[in-house]
Amino acid sequence: MEKSGNDAGRVTIKQVAQAAQVHYSTVSKALRGLGRIPPATRDRILQIAGEIGYQQDSVMQALAAQRSQCSGLHRETRIVFLSNRWAADDPEGEAFMLDSAVEASAPRSCERERVASASRSCERERVDSASTAESRFMRQFADGVQHQAELMGCACDLLSVGDEKFDIADIKSRLDPARTDGIIIGAFDPLLRQLELEWSRYAVVKIDSAFMLPEATLVANDQLQIAQTAFRHACRLGYRRIGMAVGQAEEEATQSRYSAGYYVVREELGLPEIPILYCREHRDDPTATARRMVDWVREHRLEIVLSSWNSVREFLRDGGLQVPRDIACMCLCLNVPDPALAGVIQHHFVVGQKAAEALALLIMRRKRGLAMPSAATFVAGTWQDGASAPPRDSREP
């Protein structure tokens, strides 16, 4: 576009409006032949436009035409990653706490008050660090979503909501439906069963939260493959009495995919059937959980425990068992490689990426609202050796 000179002399729609003594929107309608304008007025405007030399700007026309019929992904596609459960030390979590004035400390503080009194301080510390480790995955999900969004050329906003002080009006006030094409629902806390927004306005993808309404396209870690991988490695390392301990809520959230993985390999390898330990309250009452776990280990004479808790070693230790001398263990949801802890690394960053990709596909197909039945994408985990599960032959008899 040439800028100088020409611009000053170019006749605009506003000049036509002035000459015709109508509003410029009327000129626009007349020129495009739209709207309800008396034919006489239209003719008069067209004539004046011709007389004073109005010409449509072909570049602007091109842009307008393109913008009105743009299909698929373009620069203005905007997605929102909606989540609670940020790690207590994550800036995103803090930001929320500041702007919605939740009382100091972590959002879960009142649950934590229920922690038993005896060794209170030390337990609180551990609960905090465990829940921080568990919540750090949210940052990885968010990073993956943002990375992929950038690759695909769409904008991505993070929107964090409270945990207990979850407020639907607050979310609504911060979501701008006119500018938002799709929403990714991050792994919400199992305490929250339902999220009500005007779903028909958005394309929707959920991460790791199959338990929660609404039903939507799901992207998650592949718990089925992860449990299978851990079980096979336990067997390879020489273990035979293999038990699995997982959170009840997590299993409900994943439609028992950890259990499915456990059953299928146990049967394939013909190993003893040991009931899976489901725990409901491991965050609230670690002492009771540790006791239950150790009772279960002793009752079934277990050699190794596969668990979906990062703190599985601490539970066993608190129950009076030494890892790996008395019992070996593996973690099914490692965030990062840990030479001390064997298990399967879950790739939360990749889950975030695939969620953004799945959402972009829905947006491209102009799929708004909730799809039933919906597809599920699972990201495989990666095996990681560690000191908590040494080869069985090498252990002291």
């Binding site: 570049v59 035409a65 913008r67 373009h74 089925l224 299978q228 597809a375 599920a376 495989a380």
Partner: protein
């Protein structure tokens, strides 16, 4: 962005100057074009970021519009790779042909063409296929349901964007789209339970891989634990071509089955060859519509849906120039719905 005298908008030329490359190279790097080696791409992208380069969305739109003036030209071809022995065998296979036809339609909608390539002893070798595709500038590959025996293809994947359709057995693994066999098995067990079925067995066609059987087993086991059914999954493999009736009868008898779920097997055809007493004593379910039963319980597979979704995902990845094998393979499962067909 507010333009100010000392903060002129950063252009590709600025990036080119700083990176000591031509501005067309910058353009390639920013579009993640694999023609450029990865290190150069990364270096230029980093410099662009440091300088604060932002693509101008208005210009991008304008370019899109300009390109739309050119008569629509195919964006390119995508290869649909199958290991069936002959084109005739491919056309005969409802599973393959069903997926292919839907995928071709979807490709057309997105301005791509879909071409069938057969690999195997009497057909192209994977190495030759790879040469042909590179020579023709085809970078998108769909592995169209490879048979369980094909466990790897000697192809330099770093040059291609590849997606599998129910080809989970391939090593190293690629991303896949698949019918949700685990959910199909759970649904079947649940529905049979409601009808009084307690001893459920599965007949699986030989052309379905071990990974698919694993998904079926997982679905069966987790649902049967929930319902306290017989805990051992009972599976029988069957060859579609010469269905071994005798062996199957023995299995049904040995396992005292009262319900049979067939996966990829012609249940309707099978039951016509069995004694009517046996047919009526047992509840039959068919997973897959390759041989849609005229009556009965079925969980139709989503052949067309798989083909369409696969193309859509592949095209999206081609558009952002994704190449090579995924460091963390993923599978997207499409759930099936329960259907009852009255006689």
């Amino acid at each position: 962005m507010t333009p100010s005298p000392d903060h002129r908008r950063v252009t590709m030329s600025d990036v080119a100057l700083a990176a000591h490359v031509h501005k067309s190279t910058v353009s390639l790097a920013l579009r993640n074009q694999p023609k450029l080696n990865a290190a150069t791409r990364e270096r230029i992208r980093k410099i662009a970021e440091e300088l604060g380069y932002r693509p101008d969305p208005m210009l991008a739109l304008f370019n899109l519009h300009r390109r739309a003036l050119v008569p629509p030209r195919s964006a390119g071809a995508i290869a649909f790779v199958s290991d069936l022995p002959t084109p005739a065998a491919f056309a005969r296979s409802e599973r393959h042909e069903g997926i292919f036809a839907a995928a071709r339609e979807e490709a057309k909608r997105l301005d791509f063409t879909l071409e069938l390539f057969l690999v195997g002893p009497a057909q192209l070798s994977p190495a030759r296929l790879s040469q042909v595709l590179l020579a023709r500038g085809i970078t998108g590959i769909l592995l169209g349901v490879l048979s369980p025996a094909t466990r790897s293809l000697n192809i330099d994947w770093s040059r291609f964007c590849v997606l599998g359709i129910e080809s989970m057995q391939v090593e190293p693994p690629v991303d896949n789209v698949s019918t949700d066999y685990c959910q199909a098995a759970r649904l079947s067990v649940l529905q049979l339970w409601r009808r009084g079925g307690r001893n459920v067995g599965f007949i699986v066609a030989n052309d379905l891989g071990a990974e698919i059987e694993g998904q079926l087993r997982a679905g069966y086991l987790v649902e049967s634990h929930a319902k306290s059914l017989g805990r051992i999954a009972s599976f029988c493999r069957l060859n579609e071509e010469d269905e071994d009736i005798g062996r199957m009868l023995q299995w049904i008898d040995d396992e005292k089955l009262d319900a049979v779920v067939g996966c990829g097997v012609n249940i309707a055809g099978l039951s016509t060859r069995l004694h009517p007493d046996l047919v009526s004593r047992i509840t039959w379910v068919s997973i897959d519509t390759r041989n849609a039963p005229s009556a009965g319980l079925s969980v139709p597979a989503l052949l067309g849906e798989l083909g369409r979704r696969a193309i859509e995902l592949l095209v999206m990845r081609l558009q952002i120039n994704l190449r090579g094998l995924p460091p963390n393979p993923v599978t997207t499962f499409f759930p099936v719905e329960w259907r009852e067909i009255e006689k």
